[in-house]
Symmetry: none
Subunit: 222 residues, 2 copies
DNA sequence: TCATCAATCACCATTTATGGTTAAAGTTGT
DNA sequence: ACAACTTTAACCATAAATGGTGATTGATGA
């Protein structure tokens, strides 16, 4: 894949709730001949609303934003603009979020700690059809791919509380009570209580039933 | 993932039908303290046959070889040695082949045009749990993943026996060991044994993991 | 025929999961 | 301020699952 000089600059928009990030990205991209930062937004909603009119070539999305998260934004954008390259921005390698973003249709991600010159390179790369990611994330993707793991299944129908959904997610991923308690930083007994409620609400009485029910549910919604 | 100094060199074997490649790789690896090229083979078959006795830490496989291709070799090796890192070697970015290699279980790939110093680095990386690949290939993987495609080879068989499949079916339906034993008219301990084997073959160690894996697999096949 | 694998069963020890019950602190909305 | 709900946590007892080891029978195939 050869990188030829752009006749027209790559149109980029960005959404990030952190002003500092926005500003520094702006500064760098404005210096570039090949990239034109068309607009920047402080929230995902604004960004999504303006894509149609702005017609960007590449979208940069902070993965963590209040109200609408970057992941949700990806889903919406991907649905309306199947081919539009989307890069996620994240402060650190939050595996699950990056993983879910990618499942939602993101084309790669950038660590905010990445050098800003590298940013320009990565934007060009994703525009040219590449997918920036580090070997560690790549490996995770491959593993997940090989295992055909489930991304994320939100179980709305059963009136599960936020915490209960979290716990159920982890159960579906095959975690034990103990692992869940560690991961969520709560006691084993609390996990036990949550699972009790989950079982009540789902009308099941074992992990395997809960897991089946949850996955099937999720699939059927598509 | 931190790269610490190796106390023992990484044991590497390579298969490539091109003598020039073999020789230059040999030359480079022999200069390295951290890597020990244990053996090199001119064909995939020889390579596969000798893995067991050589116990390498990393395998390098040319993607294009006569008789048995690298891809076929990957499948075989991956089956016998689930955790063994495999790097594919290819002359150019043959997307499909690389893609299929990865689906077959390769952990990354190297262009033969890559600098030989880089080669050492990449070997260390895959040994440490990374997955060397270029952005273009990564993009393909992501697309396939997002679409939840099942590439030819990725719909792995797990070599479950007839009985094991039956037991797994019931597990997925949420049945307990006891219920399964009743339904199949076999003892609890036999169920236990079957499940043991199933876990081995699926590389899991709990019902929930087995169930997730199985359902996803099944659903994705259509 | 010898080797391999599928299917069956058992004994053991240990870890996990499940169900019943209780309860305190925090949140939210009326 | 009160009700309703969420999240947290604990105690107890029992059921279930997991892992190690070993073993027998029959079928299949080199």
């Amino acid at each position: 894949m050869e990188m030829t000089k752009q006749d027209k600059p790559i149109r980029v928009i960005i959404a990030d709730d952190n002003k500092n990030i926005l500003e520094s990205v702006q500064a760098v991209l404005n210096d570039s001949q090949d990239i034109h930062l068309v607009a920047s937004f402080g929230s995902a909603i604004e960004c999504v609303e303006n894509i149609e009119s702005l017609k960007p070539d590449v979208v940069l999305l902070d993965i963590d934003m209040p109200a609408m998260t970057g992941i949700e934004a990806v889903k919406i954008i991907r649905k309306k603009f199947p081919g539009l390259p989307i890069l996620m921005l994240t402060g650190f390698e939050d595996d699950d979020k990056v993983f879910n973003s990618i499942c939602a249709g993101a084309n790669g991600y950038l660590l905010k700690t990445t050098s800003l010159e590298s940013l320009i390179f990565q934007i060009k790369e994703v525009y040219a059809g590449g997918a920036p990611m580090t070997p560690v994330i790549a490996r995770k993707m491959l593993n997940a791919f090989a295992k055909q793991q489930t991304p994320q299944s939100a179980s709305e129908e059963y009136n599960l509380s936020k915490r209960e959904k979290e716990v159920l997610e982890l159960l579906v991923k095959g975690k034990s009570y103990k692992m869940i308690s560690t991961q969520l930083n709560i006691s084993y007994e609390t996990v036990h209580t949550h699972i009790r409620r989950i079982y009540q609400k789902l009308h099941v009485n074992s992990v395997s039933e809960a897991v089946s029910k949850t996955i099937i549910q999720k699939i059927l919604r598509h």
